[in-house]
């Protein structure tokens, strides 16, 4: 399995603007030492609560954010810090779909103009007739009529706009699309349609997807692998089946137990987390989850757990092996 995308120790800190005397006030630790890899044709989902750094990770991958440290590798070649033609070549291969379909399309441009932009920029099509043909094909590919091209975004519904945004991302025929909460703003039925559309496109083109979401039900439906993030760190990384069936990290278990089951007879034992996510301005020492973890010990407060393999393709950042019912806690070391 040759990796298309490799993230090595990706870190992003946002210094808050300095106070009146020029002293930096504080630093937001949005991403800390995130290492992931993604194969061709694979979907990797990034899940976690609001503020855990998933959107920053997405923006860092498409280079809308410059990472503080770490490297991004595309087919083994380092791509972060590139400029000019090299950056443009990177952009052609890595595209993004944004969360809010109402603000991700310029309200003053027709669909044609929005879609023509990447086609012209990446030198795929220039002549008017060729642009018309390719944009018609793209719209058809995302399930919209060809004549949608000459309308403005406000004439479309949220789901249709998200299809247009997907068409824009598909325009340069990329190898990878980062979907940042791409269906979160949509109604449930429309959500399913868009998710299925992404799946169909992936099957047809062999595209890789990074799917950033807080919605585990959607993630379970479309992903190959899942990375769970908490306060800027990856706490668990596993194949879909392993994650939803055999989650090891107490945080992942809490997340999964919070997914609603559409059956009133099922009474689940919910793992409730106490407290809120701590501020990323002052992340807790050691394991960042220790302030809310029912199993936390002195070790957790002092030592940051590394991602360690627990099974084939399954890694977890926890000092302990905790049985699914939480009764047995064994030291992993």
């Amino acid at each position: 399995m040759s990796a298309l995308l490799d993230l090595r120790g990706l870190t992003k800190h946002f210094p808050l603007s300095p106070d009146l005397f020029g002293r930096p006030k504080a630093t937001v630790h949005a991403l800390d030492d995130v290492s992931l890899s993604l194969a061709r044709g694979e979907t990797l989902s990034i899940v976690g609560e609001s503020g855990c750094g998933k959107s920053t990770l997405g923006k860092a991958i498409v280079q809308l954010q410059v990472p503080t440290a770490g490297d991004i590798l595309l087919e083994g070649a380092r791509v972060n810090g590139q400029r000019g033609a090299a950056l443009k070549a990177f952009r052609k291969r890595v595209q993004m779909v944004f969360q809010d379909p109402y603000s991700s399309l310029n309200p003053r441009l027709t669909v044609f103009d929005s879609l023509a932009e990447p086609l012209r920029n990446f030198g795929i099509a220039h002549a008017r007739a060729e642009l018309e043909r390719q944009i018609g094909d793209l719209l058809q590919q995302v399930g919209l009529p060809r004549d949608a091209a000459h309308r403005y975004p406000h004439e479309f519904s949220g789901g249709q706009r998200q299809r247009i945004a997907i068409a824009r991302a598909l325009a340069p025929r990329p190898d990878l699309i980062v979907c940042d909460e791409a269906v979160s703003a949509l109604d449930v039925s429309v959500k399913a349609q868009v998710v299925n559309l992404l799946g169909d496109i992936q099957k047809a083109t062999g595209l890789s997807l990074v799917f950033i979401s807080h919605d585990l039900a959607i993630v379970e439906h479309l992903t190959h692998r899942v990375a769970v993030m908490y306060l800027g760190r990856v706490v668990e990384l596993a194949e879909r089946r392993a994650l939803f069936g055999d989650a090891r990290h107490p945080y992942t278990r809490a997340l999964i137990s919070a997914v609603p089951v559409p059956d009133p007879k099922v009474r689940k034992t919910r793992t409730m987390l106490k407290g809120d996510v701590p501020s990323p301005l002052r992340p807790p020492s050691g394991c960042r989850f220790h302030t809310r973890c029912p199993f936390a010990t002195e070790t957790c407060r002092a030592v940051t757990p590394a991602l360690r393999p627990v099974a084939e393709g399954h890694k977890v950042a926890c000092h302990f092996d905790i049985s699914p019912d939480g009764t047995q806690v064994r030291d992993a070391a």
Binding site: V62, F98, N106, A171, P172
Partner: protein, 299 residues
């Protein structure tokens, strides 16, 4: 349930959606944005009067007639004459040309200058602080004082008045544009354009600039009215247009010595100035409402 058992009221349903009345587009505009029509209409009348001044029964606004000086308004001299016997009606109408030209030219110059500096300050982080501190400096001086100071350095001419007032007025526009750019560039469609491979200058030109234009046009109407008042004030204190070019400010300035016994010398140019500024401001308010659907929409 059979269709026949439906209560008879159901047939009244179409009344809930009365047929849309087809109105003439001008009537529709007037109903939706009355201030645009009122302000624009009043301004149009004044502009037509200014442009058509020479065909509206005027005489040479600078022709002196000492025998007929200080006349009150009459059938011969509609607005009376001034201390040199010049026809005030002609001077007010020709003065409208100068005032409107200054207002429009300053609005255009200040908008272009403000857009250029504001876009750069908003888009290029390194230049933001230097440009904005210069604007703060310019804005800390009252516009009229700054214009007087600039006029003191230059010869009195309409062009120099336009330049001086533009320099005094454009920092406000610059600050507005910078603020707009800072908020627009956080919009996902700007990120989307960057990901789509668009270079920064093109992002500014295609995605940021067009979305600033609504507020910018509104602000430029306010600059236009402010510029007309500043021009009148400059001319009133003798730092504006040369005496050979009648503007409302110069006409009022010349009437100052006699205004207590001959109030018409100041009354007519002042009324025209006020009406023009009022028209531009009403138009600006209407445009603001039209561009910002969230701003109070009654009915």
């Amino acid at each position: 349930m059979a269709a026949s058992s439906l209560p008879p009221q159901v047939s009244a349903a179409p009344d809930l959606f009365p047929p849309v009345k087809r109105r003439h587009p001008w009537v529709a505009l007037a109903r939706r944005h009355p201030s645009i029509v009122i302000g624009g209409g009043l301004l149009l009348v004044i502009v037509v009067m200014a442009v058509a001044a020479q065909w509206l029964g005027t005489v040479d606004p600078n022709a002196i007639a000492p025998a007929k000086r200080n006349r009150a308004p009459s059938a011969e001299f509609w607005f009376g004459t001034d201390a040199l016997g010049r026809d005030l009606y002609s001077r007010v109408l020709y003065g409208a040309q100068v005032s409107l030209m200054v207002g429009v030219a300053v609005a255009v110059c200040a908008t272009i200058l403000g857009l250029a500096t504001g876009l750069v300050a908003g888009a290029v982080r390194a230049l933001d602080a230097p440009i904005m501190r210069i604007m703060d400096g310019l804005m800390s001086i009252p516009p009229i004082l700054l214009a007087v100071a600039l006029m003191a350095l230059m010869r009195g001419s309409v062009l120099n008045v336009i330049l001086a007032i533009s320099i005094a007025e454009f920092p406000r526009m610059s600050r507005l544009v910078r603020g707009l750019v800072l908020s627009i560039r956080e919009q996902p469609y700007v990120d989307g354009a960057i990901v789509a491979g668009t270079a920064l200058p093109m992002v500014i030109w295609r995605h940021i600039l067009p979305n600033t234009l609504g507020p910018v046009i509104v602000q430029s109407t306010y600059i236009c009215s402010a510029a007309m008042i500043t021009e009148a004030a400059l001319s009133f204190i003798g730092a504006g247009t040369p005496p050979s070019v009648p503007s409302w400010g110069t006409v009022m300035s010349e009437g100052r010595a006699l205004w207590q016994i001959k109030p018409h010398m100041i009354f007519f140019p002042a009324v025209f100035l006020s009406l023009t500024v009022l028209a531009v401001n009403i138009l600006g308010d209407g445009l603001r409402d039209a561009f910002d659907p969230r701003a109070g929409k009654r009915g």
